[in-house]
Symmetry: C2
Subunit: 365 residues, 2 copies
DNA sequence: TTGTAGGCGTTATCAA
DNA sequence: TTGATAACGCCTACAA
């Protein structure tokens, strides 16, 4: 294979019969005998189909604008040769890539990963690639990542969470692409939203405790972000139902069971008698549950524990963890669907999609 | 802001004082007043610095080739304006992007995610972006994803696992970029490897059982892939130590605790008395442990359970799960370091990095 | 050490 | 409905 003029690869010369032969010889997706194989270019497809490159481009991008027979011929050749558009060239020329950037606050989280999976399931069949970034619950990191989006020129951006910093919100709007937030219910989403009401979730928790007959209740979780919302709903529900919140235990980190263990231990140590504890997520709740058992408490006899999030671990504990559930994969799928609509140029009537929360009753309450 | 000739954005005209003004007005990272803001181009930096674009490029790419004073001036302007190279233009021209593709067999796995995080920690400070894909333990999906790499032109590829299909191995080699496999110890890695010996891990498990005085032991896990290796090491170790393997329970899915629960229940139901069970991963082991407790077995009095993988959950169970441990984040970091070396053009003496497995003793044995 | 020329593969625009 | 032309932003090769 001849070297290109500047040494970056194979020679790209005007069409000859040899090119066609080369293309025909290449089994789709297979590597040439000489090791590294050059990807097919659009011109080569054009030569084979006897049309101009732009027609091939149109056949792939806007099939309805190309005559039936030509389109069929082109698409068959594309299929047989395994041609795929060079995403960088496309992004450079069109100012938009096929990358959808997905940001999770914590890649270790089952739920967020499920949502990202669900989103990918919807978008990938349409040629979009998910690029996953982790903001690590850090505003600084979030800002950095958002800044890097300008050059990456993604087709859309999805967050498992909402953006709070006004500067970042502005920067995202300035990208001029579909932005999807999720996992909450802010008044003024940047663009699109798949959310649920964290406040409702907290209220649901309090109502469930009331229904079970518990009076002296407590909260374990963060006092910022979503935790704050769940707490405020919990407070509201508790007030309405006449429950007494005897302790609100703030934790700095909400990612590990150890945090839940420690918080519960401290809670039982400090406060008076507590009948039921609402934990702001299932991991915390699982830690709390295990710690309660380690301390010899019967669940739910001595203590009831309620989680939030519908994660795998909730199901597997014994007793099973009662939790305020959200179907993460469904959130992801809905997010993908909304994004897809926008990428196709359709305007979804409701750019905000609210999914219901449900109480998943298990043994721990 | 004037429209570009073809309507894709702002006009790009020869340098005037206005351009400089525009650049100066743009606070780094901030959006212009008119909404969508054009990213800076390399020429604009060049105008500001009074040099040619190629000099700016060199200052960023090969600082040592640019005179001290110019370099300093250029880098300061880059810093102040927040300029970042357009990755697509770069990839198109140079035939290589700044994307490092990372494939995990299961994005839900704590361990794999940790490894990817570790890898990112090393690579991101050097300007590389991780793009995460999920192969879902499916050869078909693996093949599809590998094919799409040709057009994406990543700088390198990392797998949490090894590639077994010869066609895929060839396709990866044909990319002509650093390829890193991990999490196993094949004879003939495609290129680079950060591994450990699954066989050793299995042997370690058997040796530990022997040391504890257990005789009648069992295995729960897959009989293919890594599971098969762990099993073969376990068999070997058991034979050497005179243990009797009374059951080998094959499971189809290894992703959830429920699988472990079911497998243990079936195992205790079918086989004769079993003293100790080696599970091929911690999730299975956690399920098995919970099921054993549900059935009223004392651990480790009636039954000992040993896991593999050093995942979070192992630590939090009670009793804590004894496990054959691997430091996932460390694997990721080493992977990142190897890849980085190669991307810098250095040739690592040992493209294979073997990390030790250790037995993490907790309560379950 | 710096700069000039030109092309990477695609697609927007405009003309036929 | 199709094609010719040019440009997206950067960097390789080569010249000065």
């Amino acid at each position: 294979m001849a070297a290109r003029k500047d040494g970056t690869g194979a020679a790209r010369r005007p069409p000859t019969i040899d090119d066609v032969v080369r293309v025909r010889a290449a089994d789709p997706g297979g590597a040439g005998a000489d090791g590294t194989q050059q990807p097919m270019r659009i011109v080569e497809i054009a030569w084979l189909a006897g049309v101009s490159p732009i027609t091939v481009s149109r056949a792939l991008r806007h099939p309805e604008k190309v005559a039936e027979d030509k389109r069929r011929r082109i698409l068959e050749i594309v299929e047989r040769t395994g041609y795929a558009t060079n995403p960088h060239a496309r992004a450079l020329r069109s100012g938009r890539s096929n990358i959808v950037a997905a940001f999770v606050s914590n890649i270790q989280s089952q739920q967020f990963c499920l949502a990202v999976q669900g989103c990918g399931e919807i978008l990938e069949p349409h040629g979009y690639q998910l690029m996953i970034g982790q903001t690590s619950y850090s505003y600084a990191k979030e800002t950095t990542m958002i800044r890097s989006l300008r050059e990456m020129r993604p087709a859309a951006v999805m967050f498992t969470g909402v953006i709070e910093i006004e500067e970042n919100r502005r920067a995202l709007r300035a990208l001029g692409i579909p932005i999807l937030e999720s996992w909450a219910y802010p008044r003024d989403p940047i663009d699109m939203l798949v959310g649920f009401s964290n406040i409702d979730g907290g209220r649901l928790a309090a109502e469930h405790f009331a229904e079970c007959g518990y009076r002296r209740v407590a909260y374990i979780g963060r006092r910022s972000g979503r935790g704050a919302l769940r707490l405020s709903g919990f407070r509201e529900g508790a007030r309405a139902a006449g429950l007494e919140i005897v302790a609100e235990r703030t934790v700095d980190s909400v990612g590990s069971m150890a945090d839940g263990r420690a918080a519960l231990a401290a809670l039982l140590d400090g406060a008076g008698p507590v009948e039921a504890v609402f934990c702001a997520n299932d991991i915390l709740a699982a830690g709390a549950l295990l710690e309660a058992r380690r301390l010899g408490r019967r669940l739910p006899g001595d203590l009831a524990i309620l989680g939030f999030g519908h994660s795998d671990v909730a199901e597997e504990l014994s007793p099973g963890l009662t939790t305020v559930g959200v179907d993460s994969r469904d959130i992801g799928r809905r997010a993908g669907a909304l994004i897809l609509q926008r990428l196709r140029g359709e305007t979804p009537e409701a750019p905000t999609d609210i999914v219901d929360l449900t109480l998943v009753r298990r043994g721990s309450t």
